[in-house]
């Protein structure tokens, strides 16, 4: 038989003014199972808590009901209170007679009656409460960072600095990401490579960091604290341990006509290549789509010139499986494809380029050695037109992305300024819808472009670009000036919208991390938990969560690292015991529960059961991982046999509350 104690709080006059607390205590004392019932001015006060603790000891209470304010206010407080008196903290229920009763009703009789019913429901529930113990699950003290751009590098460095081993998985042969392709950074105009490459070197030299380049995540199992991840390391046909990065092979390779992806196809590389001079790891890779040796078995020049003997045409993909406590997603972004924007003649003229291509054209290590030349004829351009919001801020669907890509205003100002600084003989036009410059020193930067560098900012859009007689005829509208402009430009630079990397969607599925309709990863809370995914143990770094510039990306990267460190310093995780629990004897193994679980907390095992007449039956039954389950209860309703129940909110408990309320 239960021995329940009821404690009715006055909350000063907050409750007592409209609820006859004495009568509530007296009436509830008559309920079956109640052995002690009292009321007090402030149950949450030191004295009130002591009162509860004494009653638990004196009356050997097996359950406690506190009629007070919302459980959202003091459930945690009172759980600690009863725990200190030796009662399991989950043998406590709170009847909310303040927010749900005394504060909304004026009539004392009505409010008192309702308070009694709410108390009764809590008593009915606590009768069925079971002592629950929070489980512990171990934490593997290693983190995985997926993506080796500036976000991934920064996160990895911060985690490594804190003393935890961390692996970076990068799909390209080198880390560095988009930032490695950028020339200068706003608003300081310092060289991107100068600030990025030291970090890349740091990462490669840090004992705690293992860079797994030219690799992709293939499978993710497990849950927060103990993920098991399988990584496919693609064959690069070069032994990483032997290659010295001398680059001789890349000079001798006879296959010279391979579009160079690092320069966005603006020039060519060889079939064996090192993406760029400061690549990390600085190891060559053979492109199997172009290598004559791999395709036809004839050639082998690179193997002949390699003094280190690093070339290995027989190399195979390698599968690496490692355990991690936390996973950081840093998959970054890509500019969108522009085939839908015929009006800008992107596919008709090589002189119409994207901003990222323009970065390469301005870069000293780029295809033109840093001299700005028209891609079509290598001449010096005099008139340049920038078009903003290409594919951003559209109506969604066919038209383009509905969001603002955030970084274009600033990098365009940067480009315009750099051109004007280097080539004062140029005219630079920027067509904009709005100029958005929220950020430290951002607006000042933009104003400098206008005021000091004489860039022509024109409110309005370009309607059409027509290549004609070696020029680009730009038809545009100056909305503020109220005139139609026709500019004979030498180059047009398009600020293409950015979108999440294509590999993010399948990765999100593997991680059971949610995404929004644009394929950006969803954060656990848009304001309060911006660097965590709703899936425990998965963290977000950089542009995979939304468009970001470099400072923001680095800030988020470090924030994600801090969250990861906070997780990895723990030896084990305490999980809420209010989790789903299957009754194996009832479970059919039908997988309904698994399909609705947002956390992938449910798995199945084949388990032997004793059948009738000494037989053994092997049955498929559900298993809930309490470390992953967050206790939403979706599975309990999906389960047709009622095998799945939720601890702390069981079917029986909720029905007991219903019964008590409707009685």
């Amino acid at each position: 038989m239960q021995r329940i104690g009821v404690f009715v709080c006055w909350c000063g006059s907050n409750i007592a003014a409209t609820v006859d607390v004495e009568k509530v205590a007296q009436t509830l004392a008559q309920e079956p199972g109640v052995v002690y019932s009292t009321h007090y001015q402030y149950m949450c006060s030191q004295a009130g808590q002591e009162m509860i603790q004494n009653a638990i000891r004196e009356h050997r209470l097996t359950g406690v009901v506190i009629c007070s304010c919302s459980p959202r206010m003091h459930e945690a407080t009172f759980r600690k209170t009863v725990e200190k008196a030796g009662l399991n903290p989950y043998l406590l229920e709170i009847a909310n007679i303040r927010e749900h009763c005394s504060w909304i009703h004026k009539d004392k009789l009505t409010a008192t009656e309702k308070a009694v019913i709410l108390g009764r429901a809590a008593i009915a529930k606590v009768q069925l409460n079971a002592p629950l113990t929070a489980g512990q699950s171990p934490v593997t003290k290693r983190a995985l960072v997926i993506g080796g751009g500036i976000a991934g590098i920064q996160t990895a460095l911060d985690i490594a600095e804190a003393g935890f081993p961390v692996d970076i998985v990068e799909k390209k042969p080198t880390i560095g990401g988009k930032m490695a392709q950028i020339d200068k950074t706003f608003p300081t105009l310092d060289c991107a490579a100068c600030i990025l490459t030291p970090k890349m070197v740091d990462a490669s030299q840090n004992e705690n960091i293992d860079i797994i380049s030219y690799a992709q995540v293939e499978k993710v199992q497990g849950f927060v604290g103990s993920f098991s991840v399988t990584i496919r390391k693609k064959a690069r046909y070069v032994d990483e341990t032997k290659c010295t990065g001398c680059g001789l092979c890349t000079e001798k390779c006879p296959q010279k006509k391979v579009p160079n992806e690092f320069n966005l196809g603006l020039d060519n590389r060889r079939a064996i290549y090192i993406p760029f001079a400061q690549a990390v790891p600085k190891v060559a890779a053979i492109d199997p789509n172009y290598c004559t040796m791999l395709k036809s078995g004839k050639c082998g020049v690179c193997a002949k010139v390699c003094t280190a003997g690093a070339i290995d045409y027989k190399q195979q993909d390698q599968l690496i499986t490692r355990e991690y406590g936390a996973i950081v997603v840093a998959t970054g972004f890509e500019p969108i494809r522009l085939d839908k924007f015929d009006e800008f003649a992107y596919s008709q003229s090589p002189d119409v380029v994207t901003s990222l291509e323009f970065e390469r054209l301005m870069n000293a290590a780029g295809p033109t050695g840093g001299t700005l030349l028209r891609p079509s004829d290598g001449s010096h351009p005099h008139t340049l037109v920038f078009v903003q919001c290409v594919g951003s801020r559209c109506d969604g669907g066919e038209k383009g992305k509905s969001y603002c890509s955030k970084i274009c205003c600033m990098y365009t100002a940067k480009h315009a300024m750099l051109i004007r600084e280097k080539y004062p003989d140029t005219e630079v036009y920027v067509f904009y819808i709005d100029v958005r410059t929220p950020g430290k020193n951002f607006d000042e930067f933009y104003r400098r472009a206008v005021e000091e560098y004489g860039v022509h900012y024109i409110k309005g859009m370009v309607g059409k670009v027509t290549p004609q007689d070696g020029k680009l005829k730009v038809q545009a509208s100056d909305l503020l000036g109220g005139r139609q402009l026709r500019i004979d430009a030498d180059m047009v630079i398009l600020a293409a919208a950015i979108e999440p990397d294509k590999t993010a969607r399948p990765l999100a599925t593997m991680l059971t991390a949610s995404m929004d309709t644009n394929d950006f990863f969803t954060e656990a809370h848009p304001k309060l938990r911006p660097v965590e995914s709703p899936t425990a143990g998965i963290f977000l770094s950089g542009a995979c969560q939304g468009p970001k510039d470099i400072p923001e990306t680095v800030a988020q990267a470090s924030a994600a690292a801090a969250k990861v460190i906070g997780l990895l310093v723990k030896d084990s995780l305490t999980c809420s015991p209010c989790t789903a629990k299957p009754d194996e004897l009832m479970c059919n193994g039908c997988s309904s529960c698994e399909k609705v679980c947002p956390y992938g907390a449910i798995t199945y095992i084949d388990k032997p059961f004793r059948g009738p007449n000494r037989t053994t039956l092997i049955r498929r039954v559900a298993q809930v991982n309490p470390a992953v389950c967050q206790g939403c209860g979706a599975c309990t309703v999906a389960c047709p046999s009622g095998a799945m129940d939720l601890q702390g909110f069981s079917n029986q408990q909720i029905m007991a509350e219903v019964d008590a309320i409707c009685r």
Partner: protein
């Protein structure tokens, strides 16, 4: 139908812990009134609501049952209310098909910030139930107090 002045309906409101229960708390904090007939049961998420609980409430004497949860897209557990929405839509449709009055059940999304909406919803729902009169079609005579 004439409105029964003396009819005091029993109304059960299932509220998800994260949005609607907090919304109900806020409506209390702001001293917004709604009828005492409404009794709230806290569940972790709207997807925890088993159709069985709704039928149970009617069996035990409820005249109306309402489910409140986070707005679609705002579920604390990301997807719970989407499942709840399908389940309730189908359950309500089946009840309607069996001739149970449509107004006796309802789903309303109430965020933690919508204290006023919570109170307004409860006022409106209570009014609807009073208009409908006592639940006779899904009652269990054994649970009626003589």
């Amino acid at each position: 139908m004439p409105v029964n002045e003396t009819f005091k309906p029993t109304i059960v409101a299932f509220c998800c812990n994260w949005c609607s229960y907090a919304g109900a708390d806020l409506s209390g904090t702001n001293r917004l009134q709604y009828p005492a007939n409404v009794k709230i049961i806290r569940i972790p998420c709207s997807c925890r609501l088993n159709p069985m609980f709704i039928l149970r409430a009617f069996q035990r004497g409820a005249d109306g049952v309402i489910l409140c949860g986070c707005h679609p897209g705002d579920c604390h557990y990301t997807t719970g209310n989407y499942y709840a929405r399908r389940r309730m839509t189908l359950l309500f449709s089946l009840l309607d098909y069996m001739g149970i009055e449509r107004g006796r059940t309802r789903v309303e999304w109430v965020s933690a910030a919508e204290g006023a909406k919570f109170a307004a919803t409860m006022n409106d729902f209570t009014e609807t139930i009073i208009k409908l009169g006592p639940n006779r079609r899904l009652e269990d005579l054994r649970c009626k107090t003589e």
